[in-house]
């Protein structure tokens, strides 16, 4: 199998820099998710690796070999496109068989290869159909089968679940990790869906405007987002962000929320007196009885049950709106006045001006994209 490395890659279109001096290493057999808004450069990065576009600067290594100047057909990667990119004039079978044809496999080997991957993806019954006669889900599976069939050491998946319906996306989110793990391939997976990113990635690279803003395990990205932007992208319901100015007392650093002092756990000494933003995950908040220490009085505005959890919108006495999430079936205030408590350990503090998280326990070296 093969590892993948991008070294100081730059890609420009006219005057616009799409990828800005980007370096990234994906270990052999690892699944790396590229996550970010559209226009972040995720797809461009994938195409650079595939070899269909060339970088302006930098090098690309696959399995330790410099592939920068090699044409796409010699790189031995498999790729599934967001828009499927099936060959409309070929049957699903011929579509899937194209990588085997290129390897000049025998007819019987080709048939066996296509049928086994088709069985795995449950499209064995539509192999004789043209793409036009396939449903979106079948098209997506055909495209995936085409990428998998040659057992390429590197798999590039460009948001393959983007154009399929919610049910199938949910199923595939469960199936894909096992499928990819079985293959043992090095995978780069592009998505805009944070749940997909969390479910599939061994590591996640959060991209924005052509640079990797943060690289880490799903856990790290969720617990220790590098900045407000990333904190906001990961998590549903979105993180609560409130302007605060930390102060110090005998018990440590605290922030004032609705005149209640909430003490923070962590190295936040340098933040005293600075304009900051506190990030509170909705699930880090809970309803408590009146009189609990550091309980914040609120009014319940609305409640939204979401099957496995219940999201409540509450308003503080200062009029700030906060989302509180709790597992379904647990008690909570449904209307009127209530009190909430903040889990000081999981609170995140960001610099107001730069948006960067303060007191990062894991300092992320953005340049090289490696956790120091």
């Amino acid at each position: 199998m093969a590892s993948l490395e991008l070294r100081n890659v730059v890609k420009r279109y006219k005057s616009q820099t799409v990828l800005d001096n980007l370096s990234l290493t994906v270990a052999d057999g690892e699944t790396l998710v590229l996550f970010g808004p559209s226009g972040a450069g995720k797809t461009v990065l994938l195409r650079l690796v595939a070899g269909v576009i060339d970088p302006d600067e930098g090098k690309i290594f696959i399995g330790g070999e410099d592939m920068t100047d090699l044409d796409a057909e010699f790189r031995g990667v498999g790729m599934a496109f967001q828009n499927f990119a099936l060959f409309p004039h070929m049957t699903a079978f011929d579509n899937i068989a194209t990588p085997l044809q290129a390897k000049r496999s025998s007819q019987s080997a080709m048939k066996a290869g296509v049928e086994s991957v088709a069985k795995l993806l449950k499209i064995g019954h539509v192999l004789s159909h043209r793409p036009r006669a396939l449903s979106n889900g079948q098209k997506q599976r055909t495209a995936l089968a085409r990428a998998l069939v040659g057992s390429p050491p590197v798999l590039l998946l460009d948001d393959p679940l983007r154009n399929v319906d919610a049910k199938l996306r949910f199923e595939m989110r469960l199936e894909l990790p096992r499928l990819l793990a079985d293959r043992g391939a090095t995978v780069v997976y592009v998505t805009q869906d944070y749940k997909e990113a969390m479910a599939l990635g061994d590591r996640i690279a959060v991209m924005s405007q052509g640079v990797i803003k943060q690289l880490g395990t799903p856990e790290q990205i969720y617990r220790e987002p590098a900045n407000i932007e990333i904190a906001r992208l990961f998590g549903d319901p979105t993180i609560n962000l409130l302007d605060v100015k930390p102060s110090r007392d005998a018990k440590g650093i605290y922030v004032g929320l609705s005149n209640v002092q909430v003490h923070l756990t962590g190295a936040y000494d340098a933040t005293v007196g600075r304009d900051c933003v506190i990030g509170l995950r909705p699930e880090a908040l809970s309803f408590v009885d009146e009189g609990t220490p550091a309980a914040i009085p609120v009014t319940v505005e609305a409640e939204t049950p979401l099957n496995e959890k219940i999201v409540t919108l509450v308003r503080t006495v200062r009029g700030r709106e906060i989302l509180v999430s709790r597992p379904a079936g647990t008690p909570g205030q449904t209307e009127g006045r209530a009190h909430i408590a903040v889990d000081g350990k999981s609170a995140l503090l960001f610099d107001h001006a730069s948006g960067d998280r303060i007191g990062a326990r894991n300092v992320v070296n953005l340049r090289s994209g490696e956790a120091a």
Partner: protein, 285 residues
Amino acid sequence: MEHTSLLERILRGIALTLVVIFFMFPIVWILMMSFQTNETILRIPPQLVFKPTLANYTALITGKLTTAAGTLDIAFMRNLWNSVFLSVTSVAVALLLGVPAAYAFARHKFRGSEDIAFTLLSFRFAPALLVLLPLTLYFQKLGLANTYIGLIWVYQLICLPLILWIVRGYFEDIPADIEYAYRIAGHSWFATFRKIALPLAGPGIAAAGLLAFIFAWNNFVFALVLASADKQPVTVGALAFITSSGIQYGQISAAIVLSITPTLALALYAQRYLVEGLSLGAVKG
């Protein structure tokens, strides 16, 4: 379309009939003339009922034109063969050169590619008469005057830009990702061109080839100036029917019928490709 009243259908029928009569009348009239002698054609008033004769066709096929002034040799069948040969070869050459060029212009934006493509198109802006004089002089110097090669070369002015620009549009309509997918699967660019680009642009190539064929077939002025009798196509050859003893309407009509038959047959056969080609973009790959 579902709820059309009887009146609407009748009116539509009448309207369609009028349009068809308007456009088909000359062709039908020519077809009728081709089965008449000059005397019956020139009767006043013209009559719809006549005794059909195959004399015109016989004259054309045997190459003996009998007029009041005597018997003339005409090379109509030779002209017809010239037309077929010139048009088919010109279109074949234009496809061979134009389709790869169109692909290059569609897929590879190199420096000056737009300028070159536009220059090729501009050949069709220039009036043929403007280029004919210098061309004639050059051709005489080069020994290309009155040769098939020379004519096919000049016909590229008609066919090549047409094919290049139509087919280029079809290539551009193929999503680049489809070709990338084939490359990534491990195929060379040439295999991708042959197995993906060509089949997907097929209807467009057929449509462009057909149009180019019709334009080449209908060309008159290039062949008039650059070819003499034995290389002339039917368009020029028809002039031979204007004889010293009058215009041979019957033979001209028969000649027209014979000379439009190949293009008409080709157009009817290729019609489905034309329609398919034009609606290709509507279906997302």
